[in-house]
């Protein structure tokens, strides 16, 4: 079994901590993992993505081939669309609905929604609002991870929670609890 995931968003939104938690969980399960990250220039407010591949057999390419990505997880709705050629015919998109507008020609929300409808298999959530509801406004990325956990077949939600505890553990139990709560809120919202 193999799962190819593209994590995307805008530089500074925190896609790398999502990747770190999934990576911890995959390592814990003795799975193979490859994760190509973007560092450098585009982190200055440009589009950023990370290719994450998990498998129980050897993985060769660090990059996901076109048409093979099982899951696009996006912290920003327009960014979710940037990687459509990579999406597998039965692949899913899980995206935040809150736009990050830092360019003058940002498309209308209607245009983005229409394009997402074209794909069909989409879970759209306002992760910022959900994070605020559970009083952890800075954990929007964990809400999104929770939503992704609903379709991340190879890693159970319980395991990902352990990953959160591991990654944030150094910074204290309070932060772990906040992030796990955000994660659960995302998971529940996605199941609806």
């Amino acid at each position: 079994m193999k799962q190819d995931i593209i994590l995307c968003g805008v530089g500074g939104q925190g896609i790398l901590s999502i990747a770190t938690i999934i990576g911890w969980a995959a390592l814990d399960q003795n799975l193979h993992l490859k994760q190509a990250e973007v560092h450098g220039m585009s982190q200055r407010g440009g589009d950023v993505q990370s290719n994450l591949r998990i498998s129980d057999t050897e993985i060769f390419s660090d990059l996901i081939p076109k048409g093979e990505c099982n899951l696009i997880v996006s912290l920003e709705p327009m960014e979710a669309l940037r990687y459509l050629p990579y999406l597998a015919p039965d692949g899913w998109i899980i995206t935040n609905t809150q736009p990050f507008v830092n360019i003058p020609n940002y498309p209308t929300i209607e245009a983005i929604e229409k394009e997402l409808e074209r794909v069909g298999r989409v879970i759209s959530l306002d992760v910022d609002a959900i994070a605020r509801e559970v009083k952890s406004p800075r954990s929007a990325n964990m809400v999104l991870l929770g939503a992704a956990a609903s379709v991340l077949k190879m890693l159970s939600p319980e395991l990902l929670e352990q990953g959160i505890a591991h990654v944030f553990g150094r910074k204290g139990q309070a932060l772990v609890d906040i992030n796990i709560e955000a994660f659960r809120a995302g998971l529940n919202a996605a199941k609806k």
Partner: protein, 532 residues
């Protein structure tokens, strides 16, 4: 043995530490920065007192490492590919001195130019310096290879070039690592001290020796096990892969590649292995990341019976990094069905952060320059290069580190006025200072603006070599005291900033304007560190 999730950069760093490293000498540059940062944060490195402070530039890094090697220690040099140009003199001549303690130079190439100004391929440097070169395909191999490189460097008494490309440097995978590290070397000096004094008489002798040694480097490339030949059943072609190209090939054939494959990860080119491949198949497909170096070597000039395919005949794209998709097409497989690219997703270029001091500096500069239609502004490499984009469109050139100062000098000497340079603090100490000395000696009418955010911003906020001493450096180089001016780039200061810039443009000599305000990214980081 234990398993860790490591970037290629980190696997290299840890492998070097486990090989008994005594010092890493480096200047930051994407995608190489994380090698040095890993060592800076490593408990083992701290325990062993491994040097890991940033160097002023790649040349000082290379030379310091050569000094460490002279003293018998194992040393590592790291840089992005264009850093090789900066350290080329030291690098090429280090093959002439040879290594005493193991010396490995790591160059991280950036095909597709994700964060770079060109696509140069560092393997060429190893080739013409007559140095061995290693190019791993996986993070696990990177970890093993750096250790083998140190062993070979000491056995053959030669520095070694490790070449990584972006997708190896910045991709994470599970790596099995040793529990123990080899001890560090004790101080010991070279057996042949003449070789380290490159007077022509010594250098001529050494050159003959190096050429003779080069043949043994090729033997190593055939026997050390990193270059591998895999048999295949389909005789219609043979494939040569270099470095990570192997991964993209095997991605197409998870059950095994039907074609015979020569996987190259160590140079000089293993010629006997290539001949073996060519004997049996009359078409050879070469897949390499970067420039078509191996392919061109095989194609040569005179006609051959074999067909050589790759980037030169269009089987693979001539430029840009390889991808699983371009390699799929090259081996003749049908593309997988894919959705059309969305027209709704528009480009989102990087931009200067909101609140960044470079923004305020450019605003003030633009207001002054607007009154001088003949002005030319020469900028440089760093976050402030983003000032070329909207809304600032603030300058006319950006070439390589330090060029702002010297290009403004050349233009001023050719009659351009005002001639203004814009350079970051780290870029200034990297290679702007010597150009400033030329300007002072020429008494040229140039206005050199150092946009000082107290850090090396573009690469993630590393320490900057001249922090706190820029005025003293400029005065020491000979800029007159009254023409070293400091301004604070904030909207409330626009009037004063513009007055200073105008005064210095009107001055018919060398002036330096330092626009100083801390990078808001490092400011945030420092604030959160304090609150802990």
């Amino acid at each position: 043995m234990r398993k860790q999730l490591l970037l290629g950069d980190e696997a290299l760093a840890l492998g070097a530490l486990h090989a008994g490293l005594s010092g890493v000498y480096a200047y930051p540059g994407t995608p190489s920065t994380e090698i040095t940062e890993y060592i800076q944060q490593s408990a083992l490195a701290r325990e062993r007192n491994v040097h890991s402070d940033w160097s002023a530039n790649e040349k000082t890094a290379m030379e310091a490492a050569l000094g460490a090697s002279y003293a018998g220690k194992r040393a590592l040099v790291c840089m992005k590919h264009v850093g090789m140009n900066v350290c080329a003199d030291a690098f090429v001549n280090s093959a002439m001195t040879g290594a005493n303690g193991g010396l490995v130079v790591t160059a991280c190439d950036d095909p597709s130019m994700h964060s770079s100004q060109n696509e140069q391929d560092s393997r060429f440097y190893a080739d013409f310096a007559m140095m061995p070169c290693f190019e791993p395909a996986t993070q696990q191999e990177t970890y093993a290879m750096i250790q083998a490189a140190y062993e070979m460097s000491e056995r053959r008494r030669i520095p070694i070039l490790m070449r990584l490309t972006t997708r190896m440097a910045h991709s994470r995978a599970v790596v099995e690592v040793n529990d123990e590290a080899r001890p560090q070397n004790e101080i010991h000096f070279p057996e042949n001290p003449r070789q380290w004094v490159l007077l022509p008489a010594n250098a001529r002798v050494r050159n003959e020796q190096l050429i003779a040694d080069y043949a043994s480097f090729e033997d190593d490339a055939a026997t050390m096990g990193f270059n591998q030949y895999f048999e295949g059943n389909d005789c219609s072609m043979g494939i040569i892969t270099c470095g990570i190209a192997y991964n993209y090939l095997m991605e197409q054939f998870p059950e095994g590649c039907p074609y015979p494959v020569l996987k190259i990860q160590q140079y000089p080119l293993p010629t006997a292995m290539i001949r073996r491949l060519a004997q049996n198949w009359n078409r050879i497909l070469v897949m390499e990341e970067g420039q078509p170096m191996v392919e061109r070597r095989l194609v040569g000039v005179l006609p051959t019976t074999a067909t050589i395919s790759g980037r030169l005949d269009g089987t693979l794209p001539r430029t840009g990094e390889l991808t699983p998709d371009s390699v799929r097409a090259a081996v003749g497989l049908e593309p997988r069905p894919e959705l059309a690219a969305s027209q709704v997703a528009v480009p989102r270029p990087p931009a200067l952060c909101q609140g960044c001091g470079h923004r305020d500096f450019y605003t003030a500069l633009n207001n002054v320059i607007a009154q001088y239609p003949t002005a030319r502004v020469f900028s440089d490499i760093g976050c402030y290069t983003l000032g070329w984009l909207a809304p600032f469109h603030a300058f006319h050139t950006c070439v390589e580190m330090g060029a702002s100062v010297t290009m403004s000098l050349g233009a001023a000497l050719s009659g351009v006025h005002p001639s203004v340079a814009v350079i970051g603090d780290s870029t200034f100490t990297h290679s702007g200072m010597t150009g400033l000395l030329d300007a002072v000696n020429a008494e040229a009418p140039v206005t050199i603006c150092i946009s000082d955010n107290l850090t090396t911003g573009m690469t993630g906020g590393q320490d900057s070599a001249g922090t706190g001493r820029l005025e003293a450096i400029c005065r020491g180089i000979g800029v007159k005291e009254d023409h070293v001016r400091v301004i604070v780039p904030l909207p409330k200061n626009y009037d004063e900033m513009e007055r200073v810039i105008r005064e210095e443009i009107e001055y018919k000599g060398v002036s330096v304007i330092i626009a100083r305000r801390e990078c808001i990214q490092t400011l945030k980081r420092h604030a959160s560190q304090k609150s802990k």
